[in-house]
């Protein structure tokens, strides 16, 4: 197991390195410097600024200096907000986005697994069709449409819930979390249905039933563990999707999180901020993929014995 984790970790390192390098040179290749935007800057001021941001050095020296900073966990100063570092901005947004993502994931898992397992118990009946049709709607209804529609119905017409903000008014976390989580609930429902259907046709389930175990125990004790492996494996990609989704949801609901900062940085052409955020978010995603891979492998006894058996 340890070897498996280590080999995965070794695979992740080049990926993160490529991300850093590609992002750095892409951002540097962008047309227009960060200071030739609004106001005219005196040449000496410009030179001082360039020195501060190391823009006066040759490109490869800038790159290695940046790598050195990164190794110390330092993402550099923001272009747009002088005096604030990218680290500060990131860490002010991180808890908000993490909380939003966590709620969305909980909604996705609770609703998704329940609906998927429910549907798998009586395939091709109404108990299957209704949740699966809902799941299809969830997949085809993008968050940037679902969000405004929820706001329109529950915020404006019914006036049940606040329409924007995060943690200021009670209940303002409900709509963003649902908006972000809905599509993933749909995917999880489909995955857990498919996973359960496959497991429920296995011999050991027949054995469990033949022993006279009540059906709910067969499902909960024997089938769920195997049936949910696809869901666990999906959590890694889902995490990347949730982060991207937070771009939209945080914009719609005006939530001061990472996603909104990223979109704002993109619009402001705040290059150091874009660079820092991309590196940070990418590393998070790669790390999360790793964790979900390892968890899925650990849940799958066949794969686990193969890994412990000294394979790669």
């Amino acid at each position: 197991m340890l070897r498996f984790i280590l080999s995965r970790l070794l695979q992740a390192i080049p990926v993160i390195f490529i991300v850093i390098t590609a992002t750095f040179f892409l951002v540097r290749a962008a047309p227009g410097g960060p200071f030739d935007a609004e106001k005219v800057v005196l040449p000496e001021v410009k030179r001082a600024l360039e020195a501060q941001y190391r823009l006066d050095l040759p490109l490869h020296e800038q790159y290695f200096a940046y790598l050195g900073d990164l190794a110390q966990g330092e993402l550099g100063p923001s272009f747009k907000y002088p005096g604030r570092s990218v680290n500060e901005i990131l860490f002010s947004g991180l808890p908000v986005t993490a909380e939003l993502g966590l709620y969305a994931l909980l909604i996705a898992l609770l609703i998704g697994v329940t609906a998927g397992v429910f549907a798998s118990l009586k395939p091709n009946t109404r108990q299957d069709y209704i949740p699966m049709s809902l799941a299809m709607i969830g997949i085809c209804m993008p968050s940037f449409l679902l969000g405004p529609l929820l706001v329109l119905v529950f915020g404006i017409y019914l006036e049940w819930l606040p329409i924007s903000g995060w943690g200021a008014i009670p209940g303002d976390k409900v709509l963003p979390s649902i908006t972000l989580g809905a599509a993933y609930a749909a995917y999880v429902a489909r995955l857990s249905r498919a996973g359960m259907l496959e497991i429920l046709s296995q011999d050991y389930i027949r054995t469990a039933r033949a022993k006279g175990l009540p059906e709910w125990l067969v499902v909960v004790k024997h089938a769920l563990r195997g049936g949910l492996i696809p869901v666990v494996a999906f959590l890694g990609p889902a995490f990347a999707g949730l982060l991207a989704g937070s771009f939209v949801v945080e914009t719609i609901f005006q939530i001061p999180g990472l996603g909104r900062f990223y979109v704002q940085a993109a619009f402001n052409r705040d290059y150091t901020m874009i660079l820092g955020t991309t590196v940070f978010l990418s590393s998070l995603i790669v790390l999360f993929n790793l964790v979900s891979d390892v968890a899925a492998a650990w849940l799958n006894p066949r794969l686990r014995s193969q890994i412990s058996g000294g394979g790669k």
Partner: protein, 299 residues
């Protein structure tokens, strides 16, 4: 001896006929799936509308009626007008052209790169295969959503780049599918027979490999289009995709969301257009998967 040859060729003929009836079977199965048929018909209708838009759109794309302003659906404007008095139906039709074009063209880019890459890796095998698929693995792990946003920021927001960027993301899965197909086909007896008969690699790929790998590729292509369209709409919604004066469903939804409190139809109708299309494509893709009996997960 001569009779032996004729029975052999008879056998080949039978096989060829079976090959044809496989597609016929699939077609019959597909036609029995009502949701897939409905999806296909809707999609076809939307495509025809998109092609004919310049001739059949009720109003000129640039026509404004500032005196009228935003008005609810009426006999003159079936889906209402926006704040500039522009006809919403016309906007949606022109937006649909862009959204569908992005969906199909970006998918075609992905298809071309992915199928070529996967076929070469799978057919050549060995070290070439290992290196090529290793590259796919590494690219797979990259957080592309963030990269596309970055690309759009760095190189400006033009449609061509959008096609390329999205196509560049989506080809990876296509390459994996194609490679595994080619690899399993290579070990089949009829391909070995073709090799031993001295058929050239190109002929083998063209005559035996591609037709047999077509099923999964068709299914995955159908399912890639909606995800590409979603990606375009996502970027346009954030203001990083299609730029005015062009429009797309994602952009219309983003405008609609800004004014939905007063003019909900500006959000609802473009949303309906996008969702209906995505629905149709997903149902058609699922139907095709069942009809062509393709295993493997879409998710």
């Amino acid at each position: 001896m001569s009779s032996q040859v004729s029975t052999d060729s008879q056998g080949l003929l039978d096989e060829a006929e079976q090959g044809a009836s496989l597609w016929q079977d699939a077609w019959i199965r597909l036609r029995r799936n009502r949701m897939a048929v409905a999806g296909g018909v809707t999609l076809l209708l939307f495509i025809i509308l998109a092609i004919l838009t310049p001739w059949i759109a009720p109003y000129n794309y640039e026509a404004q009626d500032l005196d009228l302003g935003a008005s609810a659906p009426s006999a003159a404007h079936w889906l209402g007008t926006d704040v500039f008095g522009r006809d919403v139906l016309t906007q949606i039709m022109y937006g649909g052209r862009v959204s569908l074009a992005v969906g199909f063209i970006a998918t075609a880019v992905a298809l071309l790169i992915g199928v070529t890459w996967g076929a070469v890796a799978g057919y050549v095998g060995g070290r070439v295969d290992a290196v090529m698929m290793r590259m796919v693995d590494i690219l797979y792990a990259l957080p592309f959503m963030i990269f596309i946003v970055l690309l759009m920021v760095v190189f400006g927001r033009n449609v061509l780049l959008l096609f390329l960027a999205i196509g560049a993301v989506e080809w990876l899965t296509m390459a994996r599918i194609m490679r595994s197909q080619v690899q399993s086909l290579r070990q089949q007896e009829f391909v070995e027979a073709a090799i031993s008969l001295g058929l050239s690699p190109t002929a083998i790929i063209r005559k035996h490999v591609v037709p047999n790998a077509l099923g999964p590729i068709i299914v995955y292509t159908t399912l890639t289009i909606p995800s590409v369209m979603l990606l375009e709409a996502f970027l346009s919604f954030l203001g990083l995709g299609i730029q005015p004066p062009q429009t797309s469903w994602g952009l219309l939804i983003s405008y609609g969301a800004e004014t939905m409190e007063e003019y909900p139809w500006l959000l609802i109708f473009p949303g309906l257009a996008l969702t209906t299309t995505l629905f149709s494509l997903n149902f058609l893709g699922d139907g095709l998967r069942d009809a062509l009996d393709v295993r493997g997960s879409k998710d």
